[in-house]
């Protein structure tokens, strides 16, 4: 390792370790919905950027689904050139402030980092967030020119795929209209991810930036119901449509008692809190009933969001129940650690089999079975097998199901000729993202099933390129 010199010596960490993210005290933060991570200061960022080995072969980039030139932007930080770092980042990923906060870096860029082989990886996510937050603090430049292309584009859904597609097309000069079914834009970034992980102010800034580019947002319109997809072409005069409707349909387990009062899908639970501000009830009009003991079923990021929200809504005991083991958990490791710090208890290898209720139909318990790991199943993960006679009951007041979502069939059902896979995902041409309908493109969870923000952003970006090419070529 190079000798530590100058102000670096003042840093409270070893250069071999990832510079920790400053974060709020766990007891304090579990009382409110304000952001947990406080972000690097300039010194943290410089120090962390200097940890990058400047590899000849920057493999970190291979781990990135949208191939951000990570080493370039990290070197720009190390050189103190934040405008350049911001420009490199934003060219490759239009949503850096969001991805820096929600990407599973440990299984992407940071997994590949050569530093990770012996020490902690370079904190690519924290640096991405730092640069994007710095950019947001800068004064806005001159207003961009108004759209100059004649072909108008409609974007259906304002989640990450839609936002990125709209932004890329607007930069190419296209007038873009984004239709959103709910009353506020952002899709899963708004209704799904809580403010303690992704503050609404950041999302609002990104949306305002798109508005400055000339993108028009129309809320409360359900394409497929309010306006048929064909009418977007025939009556509204759009030349191309991008579908980024996500995977918004919650799955249920199908176990007895699932319709008891106090059982929620994670979607309902989080939407009431994030979109409808139920944590402010009765100042806000939408309530959410959270008891003293809440069990969340599942192990993904949404499960972590739900269980940590339950703590913040006043649950004294918040538990995660998952039929597989810790090794098969799908959440970001940071969220898992935050959840533990906030007092969430994890029950691995525990399979819920029935929700138990009282005479009034309210949840009183979650009957579960202990599991052990058997042979690998079709997903390659060890199959959990029930241990006979291990049945027991968690006494709980709420059960939140966070076992995945599938694409919403509403648009496909009402649009002739829009092909879907049997599981509901839209069929697209892999290169262009074009669906079975001409000039109708799609990307994000609506195509892949529930995945990550960065993959959706990447799909939105490549679809925008395909739309531009097809329209330019008059195809």
């Amino acid at each position: 390792m190079p000798a530590v010199r100058g102000w670096y010596e003042l840093m409270p960490v070893k250069r071999t370790d990832k510079t920790p993210m400053p974060q709020r005290d766990a007891t304090d933060r579990a009382q409110d919905f304000d952001e947990v991570n406080e972000g690097y200061c300039f010194a943290h960022a410089m120090f962390e950027a200097e940890r990058c080995l400047r590899c000849q072969d920057p493999v970190c980039m291979e781990g990135c689904p949208v191939r951000i030139p990570i080493s370039d932007f990290v070197h720009a930080i190390a050189a103190g050139d934040l405008p350049r770092a911001a420009s490199i980042l934003r060219t490759a990923n239009p949503l850096p402030a969001i991805c820096g906060r929600v990407c599973p870096q440990e299984s992407q860029c940071e997994l590949k980092c050569h530093m990770a082989k012996r020490f902690g990886p370079v904190a690519v996510g924290h640096l991405e967030r730092f640069v994007a937050d710095w950019e947001r603090s800068q004064p806005l430049g001159e207003s961009p020119p108004p759209p100059w292309q004649s072909a108008r584009i409609a974007v259906v859904g304002s989640g990450p795929a839609g936002l990125v597609c709209a932004g890329q097309l607007a930069r190419q000069g296209y007038p873009v209209t984004v239709y959103e079914a709910l009353h506020a834009p952002g899709g899963v970034l708004r209704y799904g991810i809580p403010e303690f992980r992704l503050p609404n102010a950041i999302l609002d800034w990104e949306i305002d930036a798109l508005k400055r580019l000339g993108v028009e947002f129309i809320n409360n319109v359900i394409i497929g119901k309010t306006i048929a997809l064909d009418d977007l072409f025939d009556r509204h005069g759009f030349s191309a449509v991008f579908i980024g409707t996500g995977a918004g349909l919650p799955k249920f387990l199908g176990i007895p008692g699932e319709n008891l009062n106090g059982v929620y899908s994670a979607n309902e639970f989080l939407t009431r809190i994030n979109l409808m501000q139920a944590f402010q009830f009765p100042e806000a009009d939408t309530p959410l009933k959270v008891g003293k003991r809440v069990a969340v079923i599942g192990s993904g990021n949404t499960a972590m969001d739900a269980v940590r929200s339950a703590r913040r809504m006043g649950a004294e005991q918040a538990l995660v129940v998952y039929r597989r083991s810790e090794a098969e958990m799908t959440a970001r490791v940071e969220e898992y650690h935050h959840a533990i710090e906030e007092g969430v208890k994890f029950h691995w290898l525990t399979n819920p089999v029935e929700v138990i209720g009282d005479d009034d139909g309210w949840v009183t318990g979650l009957k579960s079975l202990r599991m052990e790991l058997g042979e690998p199943d079709e997903s390659g993960r060890a199959r959990p097998v029930p241990i006979e006679g291990s049945e027991f009951v968690f006494p709980v007041d709420n059960v939140v199901l966070s076992i995945g979502t599938t694409p919403n069939p509403l648009l496909a059902k009402t649009t002739p000729g829009l092909a879907t896979h049997s599981w509901g995902g839209l069929v697209v041409d892999e290169q262009k993202g074009e669906t079975s309908r001409r000039r109708v493109y799609a990307g994000g969870d609506a195509v892949t099933g529930a995945a990550t923000v960065i993959l959706a952003a990447g799909a939105g970006k490549s679809a925008a390129e395909a739309i531009h090419q097809d329209l330019s070529a008059g195809l």
């Binding site: 409360n220 119901k225 249920f252 319709n259 009431r272 009830f281 009009d285 309530p287 139909g361 509403l410």
Partner: protein, 233 residues
Amino acid sequence: MTITDYDRDRGLVTIVVQEVGVTTRYLGALDEGDEILDIVGPLGEAPQFEPGGHVIGVGGGYGAAALLCLMRERKQQGDRTTIIVGARQKDLLILVDELREVCDNLELCTDDGSTGFKGLVTERLQQLIDGDQSERPDYVLAIGPMPMMRAVADTTRTTGIATQASLDPLMIDGTGMCGGCRVTIGGEVKFACVDGPFFDAHQVDFDEAVQRSKMYVKEEALAACRRSEGGMS
């Protein structure tokens, strides 16, 4: 609250609102010429009947309003249409003249007999089923409070008359995203927002539906109370 009428050419939607909670009180506090941000819809699926039969629409409370455009459409499709609406007393019946216009036969029921048939809508329905063969319905459509729809379902259950109930459970987005509006129909879980609102009334698990509708009774009262104290600004 329900849609009662629409006019596609003029871009009009008419809604009928009974002030019971926060949102309906917001609406009730509006003056002529005031605006609301948006109205989203129509969502869900239209009720499916084979045309050409005798349809009886049974409505209670705001359900009478919901029957207006539905029964007019049935009549335009060539159905013979009867509407049965009920209330405690005569002056609580709504849209009587409008309903009379859109059907072949309007039956009024009041608990006190102040007009029409004295008794419940289901009692009148039973009479029509038991009476002259020509009065017997081929389809029954029930829209109104849960106990009324359940009673209609019980009335027709053994008769083999196809009966649909319009369910309006609590829901957030209306697009299938939250699953809060799940109802059990013949042992299968359905979302009322996208699969409904019309379901085979004989298959509906009314116990569960009633229980789920009470989930936020306390909070609804608290919110409504807060709003009336603080004004509707």
